[in-house]
Amino acid sequence: MNTRHRSVIASARAGRAPRPLAVAFVLAIGSSVMGAGPAPSPGDEQVEQYLARLGVSSVLAERLEHELTLATGEQRTAIAEHLAEVYAGLLSSVGADARAAHWENRASELLKSVPEAGSIELRLALARAAFVRAEASAERGVLRMAPPEESLQAIHRLDALIGELDHIADDANRRVIGLEKREESGSDRDATLLNAALSDGRRTRSIAHFLAGNAAIQVALANHSAEHAEIALKHLGWILGARPDARPEIERLAEQNLMYPHVAKAALAVALAHAIRDRPDEAVAWLQAVRAAERLPADIPDLITTRQIQCLAASGQWSELADFVRTLRAPARDATGGEGDGGPRALSPMHARLVAVLALGAPDMASKSAVGELRDAALADLVAMGELGHVLDIASVFGTAGFSSDSYIGLEVRGLKAYDDARRAHSATDPDFSDPPSDAATRKLYATAAELLEHALRAPGADAYPDAGSQTMLLVGVCQLNAQDMGAKGADPTQRLIDASKSLRDPVRAATALRLAIHALDGRIGEGEGDVAALAAQRDALIDGYLERFPDDAFAPALIIRRAGAPGFDRMRGLTMLLSVPASSPWYAGARHHASVIAFELYRAAPPSERDWAARRYLDLEEPLLAADRREASKENRESADRATARARRIIEASLGLEVPDVTVAERALEVVDSLIALGLIDPEPLRGEMAYRRAQIALHRGDTALADALLAAAAAADPSLARAGDQLRFRAAVRSWRLEKAADPMSESTMTAAVRVADIGRALLTADADGASEEFDAFTGATCAEAMVDLFTARGDRAMGEQAAALLKHVLAGAPNARTELHRYATITESLGQFQESLEAWRTLLAGLEPGTGPWFEARVHHVRILARVDPARARTVLDQHVALYPGYGPDPWGPDLRAIHETLGASP
């Protein structure tokens, strides 16, 4: 803030006594709004800096203007000076838009109302703002992009500005001379301040001359005025080291200064001035001097081309201009000197427009062939770049009479006009072009455009502009796509679009063409047109091709999502593709969502050996998504809340399904569900059973069986379908802890207690099954329950328990008659219960299933013969006689001696 303004206000405030409310009302009469007075308040300076950083100093300007209306005397001048600073800043930062004119007017008003605020800087800023706007209009005039009256007005303004800037430059020069004298006399104590003032003065003088020179060159170019070219040279001389008011001399140009934009631009303006003065050799010399400089600002090479085009045209050198344009469009050489990608280069849109405009406006005396070549090449480049607006605009400015009716460019321009008509009609009903037109008339316009553009593609000479041809193919496809009648069959755009995607060198346009081809096929598939399966296969192949050619394209993730989620698509590949979508893509969230869905499917389908890994991969994906949805849900977004609930449920399932359940992850997800319920965002009722079941899983994992039993009872009450799952869960947990106890001490009391729990829960489960909970007998539960019962019978001699075990095992063996462990257990328990026939049968079945001569076989043989000896000794002896014939030593230890002993007991000779 202006320090003088601040000090004035501060002194005013320091002497101000607190005012009663009555006084306040009196004071308010003087202002339109009380309290909007000029006193600065705390933090104002910080806000000013903030506004400047945002580029909205306009707010500050408006506020100061308002303060100015309320201020008087010295305070008014201080505010005006501060306002002038703000205006100068605003005017130097704004472009050539309407706001610039607005601030220019306001600054002019300030200069009139408070002339003492009119610093040289403000005058220069005002002139610069006017110059920027007028120059922009003049340049649009050069390109024939502005109405002639606007261009004319701009040239008049620039002409006037030359004088204004000349005055500013003179004032600045006088100031510089004065300061230089003071510097020479050494009268100033503060040399630093003097140097800064000198530097500012020189800078102001240079800017004024630079702007005046450029204003003059625009006037010279518009009017082909050698006189203005001379004026421009004299002003630009100040920048280029010339003597005051002399033309710049190329010999005095310091090459190293060309690294500064204003010097390089001034040198190029000098070249143009010489061309307008009809001194083409001098123009070429200045152009070459700039081109030869080792270090140039980034935008200067482009400007060199512009100025060379303008210089050659201004001096009537049309054939040389055609040569120059040919050079610009020649195929680029690669590093080895080869022809690069082989295609011609295109002029930039602005250069193409400039060349086209200059060629179409060339005087009659210009070489017809050179002008025709320039025009066609420039227009073809505009078509190739998709700059159709320029082509149409040029055609409307110059008319189409100059184009041959059967040439490629002539037909192309007509096609584009038809296309533009169709677009206009289309936008009347659908400004976003989101769907093909709904009315037949607009569709017909598109069909006409497609036909004309097709003709252009087949016209003689079309091959000379392959890039323009590719763009035309794309447009044909677009027109055919929009010409299609939903009910009737029209021309199929697919092939043209595919061809365009193959030949377009611009990857963005090539990708667009391919996307539209996919879109076209989607439409045909949707309509059920032709062989849908074949079309779908073609479409999928195009999508795969798209993803291969344009993997980093912004739309690739959308296609990835579509392809990865398609039925039958390899899910693992789909997951990999989805995970490749970068975080910067707008499709990232969608891709992660689909990836998590697929990862969950893969987890559920994973074989046991891969289940943990698949669960971890899924959890890694899903947890951040859950957090994001939870955040959204907290803004009372019910859709997010539902999604978060689904995610939480999947996470709980996967985390508790791990070999070692991840209870922490599950509890975090449960907390999310709880919080959503507490916030009233989801209905708790449908979840009550499931959540109780999950909590029971966690309780069982922690060994809290009492809590688990209570929770499972609650789960079953809330959702009866969970009753059996709950019993199974309890049973599995009981078995797990029983086995742990058994491994530590098979006969301990705690092992027996655990066995009782297994037996009780197992029995209840099987009873419920038998009562209709399940149609099939659960052999695993039966066998495990029987094992626990056998243990209890063995340890405690509980016969009832033994009988129940035998009955269960019999049931198990009915479904799996050769189950060895169960056969062995059944044989043993029935023997203990005195059921020798049952035991004998079991040993016999077991024996038949074992490999003769192996350890288990000999063991089974011992038990079999032992019981047979009790039931039928004669048969036992016969069996052992046959045995000893095959195994004269009876068998290995310990079974061989046992068999020998039984045999001897039965009367065999030792």
Binding site: V56, V59, L388, G389, Y419, A589
Partner: protein, 369 residues
């Protein structure tokens, strides 16, 4: 509101073990939902969140409140470590019990609920627990014990610095304006009435301004803010004058932020565009100086400034302020408000001409977020 004290009272004896490990050996005079009242030299009510257990004769009575005590302790612990997400469900549950109860537990629950609702952006719903807390503090209740909680209420004004009587449009007001759960007496009654007036103004309705005139600094501040949006221009002028006069004294504090927002919004009601721009300048103090302490007001100020600049034809300035809003406060409510007010941001079109190809992209919709 606080008249219905649910008490299961009985005079019992026995030491009280606190969560921090200390034991209070004073006689237990009463055990109720309010807390544990102990007598002796330091007679007081101990809040349930501080009580681990009561032993002796009072043990069985206290056992009835064990789960409530655990919840209060858990909620306080979570809040003290800044875990609003996990504290919120517990506080909401507790608040159902304590919204009509007095005492230190009720105060902790009211302020905890207030804190959680503010953290979740449920501004209008935060008013009720705040007013409940005001009434309790007015009655002499305090929050004692550990872990310490960040004070929610400014001691002088009894206002919550992040709960100004300022909203961005009627959507932000919520159901508060029609809610009957506002105290009718005392300081809480005066503040509640003024907040309802402010909410009515936001809905385009006239403020009743029935709150008793009082010298209390909190009431005075809210009253002048409400007055600054009065339909009568002269009343607005007077209110602005009063607020401008306070700026220096309140410089840098949350009160200045409130005043800037109120002054800016008041100026925006005027017809002179230049005067409205003075309002924009005041509003811009918020993002420039208070964006970290008053993020909601700062976002609101940016949205209002952007709209005003757009309405005055400074589309470049409007866009710059909007960009700042979206950068500093992405996904905030003012971003959506601004989009509704001045329309969606115009995206640059590909190319310069009529080529529409890029606009006819595949409509591959994704149902994912």
């Amino acid at each position: 509101m606080i008249g219905l004290v649910v008490a299961i009272g009985a005079v019992v004896a026995g030491p009280v073990e606190l969560r921090i490990g200390d034991v209070v050996s004073a006689p237990v005079e009463e055990v109720s939902v309010v807390g544990v009242r102990v007598g002796g030299a330091e007679s007081r009510i101990i809040a349930w969140d501080a009580v681990r257990r009561v032993t002796g004769d009072g043990a069985s009575k206290a056992a009835q409140f064990q789960s409530l005590s655990d919840d209060a302790w858990r909620a306080r612990l979570r809040l003290s470590r800044g875990d609003h997400a996990l504290a919120a469900p517990v506080f909401e549950r507790l608040y159902e019990t304590y919204r009509t109860v007095a005492g230190p537990t009720a105060l902790m629950v009211a302020e905890g609920t207030l804190s959680c609702r503010l953290a979740a952006g449920r501004t209008s719903e935060a008013i009720e627990p705040w007013l409940h807390a005001v009434a309790l503090r007015e009655a002499g209740d305090t929050i004692a014990g550990d872990p310490p909680l960040i004070p929610m209420l400014d001691a002088t004004t009894m206002l919550v610095p992040t709960l100004p009587p300022i909203w961005l449009g009627p959507d932000g007001v919520g159901a508060f304006v029609t809610s009957g759960d506002v105290p009718s007496t005392g300081l809480a009654g005066a503040l509640g009435s003024l907040y309802q007036d402010a909410a009515r103004q936001e809905q385009g309705r006239a403020a009743a301004l029935t709150a008793a005139t009082t010298e209390h600094p909190g009431v005075a501040l809210v009253r002048v803010i409400v007055e600054s949006r009065a339909p009568d221009p002269s009343r607005r002028e007077s209110a602005r004058y009063a607020m401008l006069g306070r700026l220096e004294a309140d410089a840098g504090s949350w009160r200045e932020a409130w005043l800037r927002a109120a002054i800016g919004r008041s100026f925006l009601l005027e017809s002179d565009p230049q005067v409205r721009m003075v309002g924009v300048f005041h509003l811009m103090h918020l993002p420039a100086r208070f964006s970290t302490t008053q993020p909601e007001l700062a976002a609101m100020a940016l949205a209002l400034a952007s709209r005003e600049l757009a309405e005055q034809g400074d589309l470049g300035g409007s866009d710059a302020v909007r960009t700042e809003l979206e950068r500093m406060f992405p996904s905030s409510a003012p971003v959506a408000w601004l989009e509704a007010a001045i329309g969606p941001r115009v995206q640059p079109r590909a190319g310069s001409g009529v080529d529409p190809v890029s606009r006819q992209d595949l409509e591959t919709k994704d149902n994912a977020p």
